[in-house]
C-alpha cells in the first residue's frame, strides 16, 4: 500500500472520531410535588450541530425517547416506561413540528423555537420512590435506513444523555 493510500485509509477510519460530537444532556430533573402521577420535569440541553440539524432541516424525522428505570443496590431493571417525541419539518407550512405521544402537535416557525420546546418537554410520569433513573436518547433504529450506519459510527449522532439518577 502506497503512502498516500495508507494516509487516506487511516483518515477514513478515524474521520467519525474526529468530527464534532452532538450533545444531548439532562441538565435538571425535578419531581413535581403536586402531580398525582409522580410527574418529573426534565430539563435538557440539546445541541444538534452538524448532521442532525441538517437532517432535520431536510425532512428527516428525529425520534427521541425518554426512558426511566429503577435500580436497587446496583441491580437495574429493564426500563419501566418511556415517552416518544418526534421533531420534524413541514415544508408546506414551513414550520418545525414537535410531536408528543400524549400531546397535540406543536408547530414552530424556527428551529431554535423547536429546540427550546425540546429542552423543556412535558413532565413524564415517573412513579414515586427511590432509585429511579432517567435518560433521553435519539432512536437510531427509527432513523431512515441509509442514515443508521453513519449514525452508529459518527459521533455527531451520539445523542444520548446516559442514565441520570432522579434526586
Amino acid at each position: 500500500m502506497s503512502k498516500p493510500s495508507r494516509l487516506a485509509f487511516w483518515a477514513l477510519l478515524c474521520l467519525p472520531a474526529l468530527t464534532a460530537a452532538g450533545s444531548l444532556q439532562i441538565t435538571g430533573l425535578e419531581r413535581l410535588g403536586g402531580a398525582p402521577d409522580g410527574g418529573v420535569r426534565v430539563r435538557l440541553l440539546v445541541d444538534l450541530s452538524g448532521a442532525p440539524e441538517q437532517a432535520l432541516a431536510h425532512g428527516v424525522t428525529l425520534p427521541l425517547l425518554i426512558q426511566w428505570r429503577r435500580c436497587v443496590q446496583g441491580l437495574c431493571q429493564p426500563p419501566a416506561g418511556a415517552v416518544h417525541l418526534q421533531a420534524r419539518y413541514a415544508p408546506l407550512q414551513e414550520r418545525y413540528l414537535l410531536e408528543h405521544q400524549d400531546r397535540p402537535v406543536r408547530a414552530f416557525a424556527f428551529q431554535p423555537n423547536l429546540l427550546d420546546a425540546l429542552e423543556n418537554p412535558p413532565p413524564v410520569a415517573v412513579p414515586a420512590g427511590d432509585g429511579w433513573q432517567l435518560r433521553v436518547r435519539l432512536r437510531v433504529r427509527h432513523l431512515p435506513p441509509p442514515l443508521r450506519l453513519p449514525a452508529r459510527l459518527n459521533a455527531e449522532w451520539k445523542l444520548n444523555s446516559g442514565w441520570v439518577a432522579l434526586p
Partner: protein, 706 residues
C-alpha cells in the same frame, strides 16, 4: 474427548464465521429499499457479530499463512506447492474482485447521483410554492370573509357574540368559530360538528406566533384538511382573537397533502444520498473484505486439497528413495492425481516384488555361498580363490594350515603383493601367476615350499577369465594317505585270510593235547603240552593281531549321539584304576554335549592310555593327565581333548609317521593302536596331533567338532 471436541470447534469456527459473513454479505442492505429479506447493517448485533466473524476469519487466515510460511521455510513436502497455488489463486481471484468492487462503487455513486435532477427539485419546489400560494389564497379569502363579522362583534355582550357567531358559521360555511378575550379565555364558540352538543374549545396556538396579521395554518383533520385562521380583533398586542376553522377543498387538500409528502420525501432522499453512498460503500467494502478473506480461506482449503496428494506423493517418493517399498498412497476419486497415485502404488508393488525376488536370490546366493564356504572350510585340502586380476578372495582354514601363514590379513592383495608380504608363499604365487598367464584351463603342479614340505597344486581357471580356484594338498599327507589306504587293504585281507584258519588250528591243537597227553609218557607229554600250549597262545596272539587289523580296516558304522564327554572318559579311566604304577588325573570342565559314537570313543581312549602305559613300561610312576576345553575358530567350534603323560615322549624317528600302522618305538603292541586312534578321530570329522610336552612326555591333542 473434550480436547477433540474443542479442536473440532476450533477447526469449525472459521468456517462458521465465513458462512455467517457470507449470509451477511448476501442479505445486508443499507438502503431500506430492498424487496427481498434483508439485514440492517446498523443493527448492533449485526455489527458486533460481523466484527467478531471478521476477526476470527482474519486470525484463522493469518494463522494459516504463518503455518504455511513456517512449513515452507522448513522445506516440508508440499508447502511450497501450496504457497504457489494460493498465490496463483489469489492472483486469479482478486483482480476481478477489485474490478467488480470499483465498478460497483462507481455504479452506486453515479446511479445515486442520477436519481436527483435539478429540474425535478425545482419542479417540486415550484409545485410546493403553488400549493402554498393556493392555501394562502384560500386563507386570505376566508380572512376577507371574516372581516365584516369581526367588525360587528361586541365583546362586552357574550350573547351578541354567540348569536353573531351562529349566523356567521352558517353563512361562511365554517367548521368552528371561537372568540378569545385579551386574557385568552373563550368568550364564545360555535361548532358545525353535530356530534358535539357543546363546542370543543380549540387549543390556541402559542402567543408568540400570533402577529399583527394573525396566523393561518393548514391542519390535518379527520376527513380532510382544515384551514385554521387566528385573527386579532384589533391592532393591540394582547388584542382579542377570532379563531376560525374552515374545511379546505377536499380535492385540493388531498393534492396538497400528497405534494407535501412527495416533496418532503424527495428532499429527504436528496439529503440522504451521501449517507446512502456511505452506507452502500461500507456494505460493498464489507462484501469485498469478506470475499477477499473468503477467497484466501478457500484458497488455503483448495491448496491443501490439491497439494495433499502431491505432498503424499513427495513423501512416499522420499520413503521409496529411503528404501521403504511398502508405502502406499491413498486413492480417492477418478482424476489424474488418483491415476497417478494408482500408478505409484503399482510401481511400488512391483518394486517391492522385485526387491523381494532380489532379496530371495541374494539369500539363496548367500546360503549357497555359506554352504560353499562351509564345504571349502571343512575339506582337508587347501583352497584359495583369486579374481581376474589375481586378488586373493577366499581361503580356507586348511590352506592356512598347509601354508602355515595367516591369510586373513592379506585378503584382497594380489599374488605379487602376497609374495612380498609372505615370502614363504612365493613358490605358490609364482606357480599361480605362471599358470594363469598361460592359456591352460586346468593345471597341476608340485610346489616345494621347503625341503620337507611339498604341495600338490591343482588350479582351474574360472569362465570368462573371472579368476581361478587353486586347490592344494600336502604331498607328504597324500603319500601318507596312500600308505594308509594300502595298509587298510592289507589289514582287510589279512583279517579275512588269516582269521578263518586260526580257530581250527587252535581247536586241532587242543584236541591233540586232549587225546594224546594222557597216552604219552611224562617226557613226551611235557613236550606235547608245551607244544600245544605254544600253538594255542600264538593263535590267541594271532587272533588279537587279526582283530586289530579287522578294527583298522573296518568301515565306519558310527552310532553318533549327543552326549557328555565326562562319563565316557571316566568309564575308560576306571579300567586302569587297578594299575599301581599308573596314575590318571581327569580334569574336565563343564562342556557342551558332543556327538560321538561312545563305543568308538572308548576304544580311542583305551588305545591312547594303553599306548602310554606300554610306552612307559619301565617307569614305576606313570602319570597321565586328561583335560579338555571348547575352542572356537571362526565359524567352527571344537572340543579339544588332551592326553598327556610323563613317559619317554615321541621319538624323533617316528614322529612324522606316528599314526601309520606298524610305526612304533615300543617293544610290545601290534603297531595299529595309534593308527586306529587316528582312524576313529577322522571318522568323527576331527583331527589328532601328537607332540612332546614342554616337561617331557607325549601330548595327544584331539579336536572333535561340536
Amino acid at each position: 474427548m473434550k480436547r477433540s471436541l474443542g479442536r473440532r470447534l476450533l477447526v469449525l469456527l472459521p468456517w462458521l464465521a465465513a458462512l455467517w459473513l457470507g449470509v451477511l454479505a448476501l442479505l445486508l442492505d443499507g438502503s431500506g429499499t430492498a424487496f427481498a429479506p434483508s439485514i440492517d447493517p446498523a443493527a448492533p448485533a449485526v455489527m458486533i457479530s460481523a466484527a467478531l466473524a471478521l476477526l476470527i476469519l482474519l486470525l484463522a487466515s493469518a494463522a494459516r499463512v504463518l503455518q504455511l510460511r513456517r512449513a515452507a521455510t522448513r522445506k516440508e513436502a508440499g508447502a511450497r506447492l501450496s504457497w504457489r497455488l494460493i498465490r496463483h489463486m489469489l492472483w486469479v481471484a482478486l483482480p476481478p474482485l477489485l474490478l467488480l468492487y470499483a465498478a460497483s462503487m462507481k455504479f452506486v455513486h453515479s446511479s445515486i447521483e442520477g436519481w436527483f435532477q435539478p429540474d425535478v427539485a425545482e419542479a417540486l419546489d415550484n409545485a410546493l410554492q403553488v400549493a402554498q400560494r393556493s392555501v394562502q389564497l384560500a386563507q386570505a379569502r376566508r380572512r376577507g370573509q371574516l372581516q365584516p363579522w369581526m367588525a360587528q362583534l361586541d365583546l362586552n355582550d357574550r350573547t351578541q357574540v354567540a348569536d353573531l357567531l351562529d349566523q356567521a358559521i352558517d353563512e361562511l360555511d365554517a367548521l368552528e368559530l371561537t372568540v378569545f378575550g385579551s386574557d385568552r379565555r373563550v368568550i364564545a364558540s360555535v361548532s358545525a360538528d353535530p356530534r358535539y352538543l357543546l363546542p370543543l374549545y380549540p387549543e390556541l396556538p402559542p402567543n408568540g406566533l400570533v402577529g399583527g396579521d394573525g396566523l393561518a395554518v393548514l391542519e390535518s383533520a379527520t376527513g380532510g384538511q382544515v384551514n385554521l385562521l387566528v385573527v386579532p380583533l384589533s391592532g393591540q398586542r394582547d388584542a382579542p382573537l377570532l379563531q376560525a376553522r374552515f374545511a379546505f377543498d377536499t380535492q385540493l387538500g388531498e393534492l396538497t397533502r400528497r405534494l407535501e409528502a412527495q416533496t418532503l420525501a424527495y428532499t429527504r432522499l436528496s439529503f440522504l444520498r451521501n449517507a446512502l453512498r456511505y452506507t452502500l460503500s461500507a456494505v460493498l467494502s464489507f462484501v469485498l473484505l469478506v470475499s477477499a478473506l473468503g477467497t484466501l480461506f478457500l484458497a488455503f482449503a483448495l491448496a491443501r486439497r490439491l497439494s495433499t496428494p502431491i505432498r503424499d506423493l513427495a513423501a512416499a517418493t522420499e520413503a521409496v528413495a529411503e528404501g521403504d517399498l511398502a508405502v502406499q498412497l491413498p486413492v480417492a476419486g477418478d482424476d489424474e492425481l488418483s491415476a497417478l497415485a494408482r500408478s505409484f502404488n503399482r510401481m511400488t508393488n512391483r518394486l517391492a516384488e522385485a526387491d523381494t525376488r532380489v532379496k530371495r536370490t541374494q539369500e539363496a546366493l548367500e546360503s549357497e555361498r555359506a554352504f560353499l564356504a562351509t564345504v571349502i572350510e571343512r575339506i582337508s585340502s587347501g583352497v584359495i580363490t583369486f579374481d581376474g586380476d589375481l586378488h586373493l578372495l577366499v581361503c580356507n582354514g586348511a590352506a592356512q594350515e598347509l601354508l602355515e601363514v595367516d591369510l586373513s590379513t592379506v585378503i584382497g592383495q594380489t599374488t605379487a603383493q602376497l609374495g612380498v608380504a609372505l615370502p614363504s608363499l612365493q613358490p605358490l604365487t609364482a606357480a599361480i601367476d605362471s599358470g594363469y598367464a598361460s592359456a591352460a584351463q586346468e593345471w597341476r603342479q608340485e610346489i616345494a615350499l621347503s625341503e620337507s614340505r611339498r604341495l600338490l597344486l591343482r588350479a582351474t581357471r574360472l569362465p570368462d577369465d573371472a579368476g581361478l580356484v587353486a586347490v592344494f594338498e600336502d604331498q607328504n599327507e597324500a603319500s601318507r594317505q596312500q600308505r594308509e589306504s594300502a595298509w587298510g587293504e592289507v589289514a582287510r585281507r589279512l583279517a579275512h585270510e588269516i582269521k578263518n584258519p586260526l580257530t581250527p588250528i587252535q581247536l586241532a591243537a587242543e584236541r591233540l593235547r586232549h587225546r594224546y597227553l594222557s597216552r604219552l609218557g611224562p617226557e613226551d607229554g611235557q613236550v606235547l603240552d608245551r607244544a600245544t600250549n605254544t600253538i594255542v597262545a600264538q593263535v590267541d596272539a594271532l587272533k588279537s593281531m587279526v582283530n586289530a587289523f579287522s578294527d583298522y580296516s573296518r568301515a565306519p558304522r558310527l552310532d553318533l549321539k549327543a552326549q557328555p564327554l565326562e562319563p565316557i572318559v571316566l568309564d575308560v579311566v576306571e579300567l586302569y584304576r587297578g594299575e599301581q604304577r599308573m596314575q590318571i588325573d581327569v580334569d574336565l570342565p563343564e562342556l557342551p554335549p558332543i556327538r560321538v559314537d561312545s563305543g568308538r570313543l572308548r576304544q580311542l581312549l583305551h588305545n591312547l592310555l594303553k599306548n602310554a602305559s606300554e610306552a612307559a613300561e619301565d617307569s614305576a610312576a606313570l602319570r597321565v593327565r586328561i583335560d579338555a576345553e571348547a575352542i572356537a575358530e571362526g565359524s567352527r567350534s571344537f572340543m579339544e581333548l588332551r592326553i598327556a603323560d610323563n613317559g619317554p615322549g615321541i621319538a624323533d624317528n617316528v614322529r612324522e609317521r606316528l599314526f601309520e600302522p606298524y610305526v612304533t618305538s615300543k617293544a610290545k603292541g601290534s603297531g595299529l593302536g595309534l593308527a586306529i586312534v587316528k582312524r576313529i578321530v577322522e571318522e568323527h570329522g576331527g583331527q589328532i596331533r601328537a607332540e612332546n610336552g614342554a616337561d617331557g612326555g607325549a601330548v595327544f591333542r584331539l579336536r572333535l567338532p561340536l
